[in-house]
């Protein structure tokens, strides 16, 4: 096509969308900032780390375009690229708060977390999501998906948080890439070699028919410019992250044992009778069920024995002034992909439902109920039906609920006695303002299982393990994770299944001190890069980028 946006690289895309001679790049190739984590892993870096920040005007409207380069490392988000996005969005927010309109646009072309910097990727993406949710109160935050990589992984969740999504028919959106589903759940669940299947389920046409994207337009720069300007001027917002009752109603009518055709799902989507949902607090029962670290600590901290919930995978209760919430396994769940405690369609929306209700209840209160997220999530659910319905939107709903609660003044603590992996962690844990963990070697913290990460990055399991052993960016264990500076506190003398009064008291004290530490502190996520460990070693590049952005923004 003559005036194609799709065929341009990330920098050219940003320049093409802006009015002639108005584009000005911030933290560009001459600023000498590359990822410090790639060369040590024998990977060639890029001078912009695959993220281009371009200020300028679009039809005379002040904009900042964040354009992700899909052909560099699959558009994966690492520390430097992530910090560029977060700091640009922060300045955009500040300008808008000061009454100066600046409209943010993100061009998605990304596989999500950059697996070679997995832990930074997850942290960055949660910080990006936090900014978008706050910015939406001031201006529409517009997402473009021209296509090639599309938008996958943690960044698909980010897509779902955008006010409005414009794509071409070459775009694809999904949480788990087909190869990862095949690796985790088998080819019968999703055959990654079946290109038709992939396009029919994840392609823009189907996504438009079922509310996952807003507009599919021609691959033409002028068409994009006009559609963007219209979206800005009409302040369009689909509130995609707040359709909790719609989707909970839809999911109830779905038979998880049957693989839906796209037509069947489209019909289902068009005929949902929506009703309100509220999840009662967990109650004690006489029936012990399979245990997990998440359930164990929920029961210890709330003193609810054999906690029973109407949604068996989501436990919550308000005890002694704190709202506790945990996602737990359910071995007979009718959704097979959540039986080990994964965050599935119902789980994301249910967590969002619980938190939204709490925000509502405390709306007019001066002191908001603190929230304690008990984190034990092995991953998100890997399944075909999940992708067809758009599991990334379910996770986005809970990301949004937690972020809005925090921004409204709820103090949120994530207590990690179990696994904290990937999209599950983004949805249930990473929007808290303080993270506390047990120092237990059974805990896995990461963006992807080792088997899948090895497959996607073309390494053997052995090579991957070698690379991750001493690199905190790639760590799978909590001790290395601590070196990033993201933890508020690592509890050293309690193990994942301890149940002595002594152990419980230590954990309670840690939670209490994290909550008191939040008194009169910012409601954002800045603690993670502002503390001593982060500044000295864990987030050096992040802080460098933030300073440079401060200098270059105006």
């Amino acid at each position: 096509m003559n005036n194609s946006l799709l065929e341009l690289n990330a920098r050219e895309r940003a320049v093409a969308l802006l009015d002639k001679d108005t584009a000005q790049e911030l933290i560009g190739p001459f600023d000498n900032i590359i990822s410090p984590h790639l060369i040590p892993q024998n990977i060639v870096p890029e001078s912009d780390d695959g993220v281009i920040i371009m200020k300028g005007q679009l039809k005379h409207l002040n904009c900042v375009i964040i354009s992700i380069e899909g052909s560099f490392q699959g558009g994966g988000i690492g520390e430097v690229g992530g910090a560029k996005i977060v700091s640009a969005l922060e300045h955009t927010l500040l300008d808008n708060k000061n009454g100066e309109k600046v409209y943010p646009l993100i061009i998605f072309d990304t596989g999500g977390v950059r697996l070679q910097e997995a832990n930074y990727g997850l942290l960055s993406i949660s910080e990006i999501q936090n900014m978008i949710i706050e910015l939406k109160q001031y201006v529409p935050v517009i997402g473009l998906i021209p296509g090639r990589v599309g938008s996958f992984g943690g960044m698909s969740i980010t897509t779902a948080l955008m006010s409005y999504i414009i794509t071409t028919d070459k775009a694809r959106i999904g949480l788990n890439g087909p190869e990862v589903i095949e690796q985790e759940a088998g080819a019968r669940e999703f055959d990654s070699s079946d290109k038709n299947l992939i396009w029919n389920t994840l392609g823009a046409k189907q996504r438009k028919a079922t509310g996952i994207v807003d507009e599919v337009i021609d691959d033409d720069v002028d068409a994009f410019r006009s559609t963007i300007a219209k979206t800005i001027l009409e302040k369009k917002d689909s509130n995609r992250d707040q359709q909790v009752n719609f989707y909970l109603s839809l999911i109830e009518t779905l038979d998880p044992a049957h693989m839906l055709t796209t037509q069947e799902y489209t019909n289902l989507y068009r005929h949902v009778s929506v009703h309100d949902h509220h999840l009662n607090s967990a109650i004690p029962s006489d029936y012990p069920t399979i245990t997990s670290r998440g359930r164990h600590w929920f029961e210890q901290l709330t003193q609810i024995k054999n906690a029973h919930s109407d949604i068996p995978t989501v436990l919550h209760a308000l005890v002694n002034g704190y709202e506790y919430i945990s996602i737990v396994p359910d071995k007979n769940n009718n959704f097979p992909r959540v039986r080990h405690g994964e965050v599935g369609l119902k789980e994301g929306y249910t967590v969002a439902n619980v938190i939204n209700d709490l925000i509502d209840r405390d709306k007019d209160k001066k002191t908001k109920t603190p929230i304690v997220i008990i984190v034990d999530v092995p991953s998100q659910a890997y399944g075909y039906n999940e992708e067809l319905v758009g599991i990334h939107m379910s996770l986005a709903a809970s990301v949004s609920a937690y972020a809005r609660a925090r921004q409204a003044g709820h103090k949120i603590i994530s207590f990690i006695p179990g696994d904290a992996v990937s999209g599950g962690f983004l949805a249930h844990g990473l929007q808290s303002n303080r993270l506390i963990a047990l120092n237990d070697s059974s805990i896995t913290i990461q963006a992807m299982s080792k088997e899948s990460a090895a497959r996607i990055t073309n390494r053997s399991l052995q090579e991957l393990e070698q690379a991750t052993k001493n690199t905190p960016a790639m760590a799978y264990d909590i001790k290395n994770y601590q070196k990033l500076g993201s933890l508020f506190y690592l509890i050293s003398n309690v193990k994942s299944y301890d149940s002595s009064d002594y152990a419980i008291n230590i954990v309670k004290n840690a939670i209490n001190s994290a909550i008191s530490d939040l008194e009169n502190k910012p409601t954002d996520l800045s603690f993670r890069y502002n503390n001593k460990i982060a500044k000295e070693s864990g987030r050096v590049a992040t802080n460098k980028i933030r300073l440079l952005m401060d200098k270059q923004w105006n």
Partner: protein, 99 residues
């Protein structure tokens, strides 16, 4: 991955910063900064090991014809000599357009 360094005596100082290319599969990026020496430096990071002599040939031929003086950084993700030449000509193009 391999890091390579080259130095060529050159005579035509550049006055502009230039950036071209993308570190995509089979491609590379070139970052050129002006310098005050009488030679050019090239710091190359390449994903394909063992091609030092090929690089040396391609670059010698280029600097023989166009003795551009500046500091070059190249991040290469498996570009063929043809693509390397293409990107170098693109640098020339940008310099010419901005003069």
């Amino acid at each position: 991955m391999e890091k390579l360094y080259f130095k060529f005596t050159t005579t035509q100082p550049v006055t502009k910063f230039v950036h071209v290319g993308v570190v995509a599969s089979g491609d590379l990026e070139i970052i050129l900064r002006p310098n005050n020496h009488s030679y050019s430096t090239l710091n190359i990071i390449t994903g394909s090991d063992g091609f030092k002599s090929t690089w040396s040939n391609v670059l010698s031929r280029f600097f023989d014809r166009y003795p551009l003086q500046g500091d070059f950084e190249i991040n290469d993700f498996g570009a063929t000599p043809g693509v390397v030449n293409l990107r170098l000509s693109q640098v020339m193009e940008v310099l010419k357009n901005e003069q």
